[in-house]
Subunit: 117 residues, 2 copies
DNA sequence: TTAGTATATAAGCACGGGCTTATATGTCTA
DNA sequence: TAGACATATAAGCCCGTGCTTATATACTAA
């Protein structure tokens, strides 16, 4: 299988790495490996404001790395990387959900929407 | 084999991804997969100034991702990632030297130091 | 309709990143 | 030693980023 890299591919790889190069976004994506998450859960887990959470998700969404699904007044996010092997490769380097929740001192997550834990 | 992630590991992973998330630095590291390179070669290959090249190399060096070897008036850089599997994993996603030189319209590189091409 | 909740957007601020030009430092050679 | 070459550092500029607070939008339920 031949590689057919061009300058646009490398630029996109670099841009994606830069996008993953933020601890909050990286942990969001690592959590999304396990299941979909509601915005309100992220707001509980991370020590930043709700607009900050929303802005991180918007950047991931505009790059097509996550997709949203509106469920009533809640919005659930899930990974959308079936066609993005380089994102998959990076996410293999990240810890799993229990480790993340433990390191953020957020075990267990309080139920704030209809997602069951 | 148990994972023992902590918050410092994730922060370092994110920081390293951010460092690789620049097209110039990513291509430098991709070139360094093949062999060591002289600073003057990078100056020829990339369309930025010599100080810009030097600053990129300093950042990679201060993170321990590359190491330098002074040879007379020239400085050769090489990879230093034996103990950094996450860097290795990302560099597996990058093109090889001929592809990079072709996409930058820099084939072949003019000899500007004692490294043989 | 009104209030409450969930999420997104707007605006502004502080900081860092990547580049430039100018200059300093180090090395080789005539 | 003087000059040329290779590299690093300094200083400054512009722009992007991550956060905040304030506000807008959307949905739900009384």
């Amino acid at each position: 299988m031949e590689e057919a890299f061009d300058i646009a591919d490398v630029t996109e790889l670099a841009d994606d790495l830069k996008l993953l190069g933020d601890r909050t976004r990286l942990l969001m994506l690592a959590l999304l490996k396990e299941r979909e998450w509601c915005v309100c859960e992220f707001v509980e887990i991370f020590d930043i404001s709700q607009p900050a959470i929303s802005q991180h998700l918007r950047r991931l969404r505009s790059k097509g790395i996550v997709k949203e699904q509106k469920k009533g007044q809640w919005v659930h996010y899930s990974l959308n990387i079936e066609d993005k092997p380089h994102i998959q490769a990076v996410l293999q380097l990240t810890p799993d959900t229990p480790a993340i929740l433990a390191m953020l001192n957020r075990t267990p997550v309080t139920v704030c929407c209809e997602i069951l834990h």
